[in-house]
């Protein structure tokens, strides 16, 4: 302990029943675990591959991460509630197909994006309704909507991709650069990150999310409208999936009805690697950003090192396992 700490602690006279270790400090240290892991992996990769720490590669990784990070930000709130959202990939696909259909029908890209995001919000809202007032377990509710909405994406698009949108604005959203250096999706990701950070840290709504996830009954008895909080969170998750869909569609210049399959697992992995507890009530959005970066860097590094595809899965699984074993403060 530092002298300063000792001095502080000495003055405080502890009542019986209070732990002596500064809990904020302990929590912070624990929270920074994933960041330490990320930095360690980055240093390792920088030594192993000279291509890793180049501006170009760093920007690439950041852009590659942006889609997963967007979904994972929404998923963080869902998981903070103790819930889960398996339908994000399908929501992404439906939104993406809808946007592409509108663009092809000659509508403006602003309209298309707006409708896509609204559609995402609506699908998330339906999840929320089924889960909160409907009292269906989130896992099974979103498993059902995942299947259902994948079907909707296929029906809408007749199973074929919808491609080529000759809109500069739209193609900028996924492929453009800010100040000719930072990819637009990376900027969007950082803006959304800041927003979510603010919401969770500074707003009444954020507090209610933590309270509902920590103890829904106590929150309800304290006047928190827990159903409304849940509906809003699933709606947000839908919106984030749709935004990820905008980036993907723009970047691919194509809407794929099969897009987003399996993205829910990547997003959940990012959230959990970032230290948010699947039991709800405990976690932070910064961890999610770190978790998403961790996964992205891992994918990038394995490619740069030329690790063969089959071994990549073995290594990825092992790294995730290791990371959570090292950081299993709470189950």
């Amino acid at each position: 302990m530092s002298p300063l700490e000792n001095a502080v602690l000495e003055k405080v006279h502890l009542p019986s029943g209070v732990t002596r270790l500064n809990p904020q400090r302990k929590a912070l240290l624990q929270k920074l675990g994933p960041l330490v892991g990320l930095v360690a992996i980055c240093i390792g990769l920088a030594f192993m591959s000279p291509d890793f720490l180049t501006i170009g590669n760093v920007m690439d990784v950041a852009r590659q991460v942006s889609i997963n990070a967007m979904i994972a930000f929404g998923m963080t709130l869902v998981i903070l509630l103790g819930g889960i959202d398996l339908s994000v990939g399908s929501i992404l696909a439906v939104s993406s197909v809808l946007m592409a259909m509108l663009l092809h029908a000659g509508h403006s890209s602003v309209l298309a994006v707006a409708v896509g995001i609204l559609a995402g919000a609506f699908m998330g809202w339906v999840n929320g309704i089924v889960i909160a007032p409907g009292k269906v377990a989130p896992f099974i509710a979103t498993l059902a909507t995942m299947t259902l909405l994948r079907g909707v994406a296929l029906v809408l698009s007749q199973g074929s991709p919808i491609s080529d949108f000759s809109s500069d604005f739209f193609s900028m959203l996924g492929g453009g650069y800010f100040l000719t250096l930072i990819p637009v999706p990376v900027v969007s990701m950082l803006v959304v990150f800041a927003l979510f950070w603010f919401v969770l840290k500074k707003t009444v709504f954020g507090r209610h999310v933590y309270a509902t996830g920590g103890n829904a009954e106590a929150a309800r008895l304290s006047g928190v409208k827990t159903d409304r909080v849940q509906i809003l969170v699933y709606t947000l998750s839908g919106i984030m999936a749709a935004i990820a869909g905008v980036i993907l569609t723009s970047r691919l210049n194509s809407a794929q009805p099969t897009a987003g399959a399996g993205y829910e697992l990547d997003a959940i992995a990012a959230v959990v690697l970032g230290g948010t507890s699947l039991a709800g009530g405990r976690g932070w959005i910064f961890g999610t950003l770190v978790g998403a970066l961790l996964i992205g860097v891992l994918n990038n590094g394995l490619n740069l090192l030329g690790v063969s595809a089959f071994y990549q899965q073995v290594i990825k699984g092992a790294v995730i396992l290791l990371a959570v074993l090292l950081d299993r403060s709470d189950k």
Binding site: L154, S157, R251, S254, Q256, T258, G306, Q312
Partner: protein, 284 residues
């Protein structure tokens, strides 16, 4: 970026090329990769393979990673023809020549395309099936994963021939997701409805092999099953007389010829824009 790599990369003596493959969860593409790797080894080229796991976004990420590795040539086997145009342009902007394998790239120029066409294969399968059932009878089509490009293209080619036939009726088009177990279950279920089936087209050999099981178990004779991909198991089934035929796309050859074309580009020699790998129909 042309010219020798001077950064002292350990392999700077060897030229490096990249292969971005749609998925390695399918023996067909595993063979394609194997063909490419064998040829690269023979030629002293360093080949880095990245697997897109059938996700266009993952494919873009993988190609970007390859660009960072300063490869000379990119061999790309698109997850979806439309979805890779942007990243192909990116690679080309970085001075990398791009060769598409098996599936084409829509919306961007590539230096060459090596492959054979899924739709043509579908047509071949249809024509062969028609011949075997003498242009009449009931036909079942087992479809691949809904929305996937192989399912779409093979189906399109097959349907374009079959749909015009007056005496041929497609009694079921059902998805079995390119999966052997599902091919079996779905065929079982279809046969419960109607045992009067003369022909089956399965959009890959895996489903065809599953369907054959169902047909055998039902004791049906003289059902003509046509598959696609000519995988090892598929070819064995043809030899055993269980599978009437399978469309061969020669994945190893596609991989090999892709690397050959890449070598030409590295050496600054001209390459043909179209390098067709002939389709073949494997029959007994």
């Amino acid at each position: 970026r042309q010219g020798p790599d001077t950064r002292g990369d350990s392999t700077s003596a060897q030229p490096t090329i990249g292969l971005s493959i749609s998925t390695l969860n399918n023996p067909f593409f595993v063979s394609l990769r194997d063909g490419a790797e064998a040829e690269a080894k023979a030629k002293g080229i360093k080949l880095i393979t990245v697997d897109a796991q059938d996700d266009p976004a993952k494919q873009i990420a993988g190609v970007e990673d390859l660009i960072q590795k300063r490869i000379k040539v990119l061999l790309i086997n698109p997850t979806d023809s439309d979805a890779v145009a942007n990243v192909v342009k990116e690679a080309e902007a970085a001075g990398i020549n791009v060769i598409s394998l098996d599936r084409r790239v829509n919306g961007a120029e590539v230096s060459a395309h090596v492959g054979s066409d899924n739709a043509t294969g579908g047509k071949m399968a249809a024509e062969f099936l028609l011949e075997k059932i003498a242009d009449k009878g009931n036909v079942v089509e087992l479809e691949g994963t809904p929305g996937s490009s192989a399912a779409r293209e093979r189906g399109k080619g097959f349907d374009s021939v079959i749909d015009g036939q007056p005496d041929v009726k497609v009694i079921a088009r059902q998805p079995a997701d390119f999966d052997r177990v599902k091919g079996l279950s779905v065929m079982e279920n279809i046969l419960q409805r109607n045992k009067n089936v003369q022909g089956v087209f399965a959009q890959n050999d895996e489903m065809a092999l599953g369907a054959i099981r169902a047909i055998e178990e039902d004791g049906l004779k003289n059902v003509v099953v046509v598959g696609f991909d000519a995988t090892a198991d598929g070819v064995a089934a043809v030899k055993a007389g269980k599978l009437a035929g399978t469309v061969q796309q020669k994945p190893e050859l596609i991989g090999k010829m892709g690397v050959d074309a890449a070598q030409l580009l590295i050496d600054g020699k001209p390459v043909d824009k179209e390098i067709p790998v002939p389709l073949a129909l494997i029959t007994q």
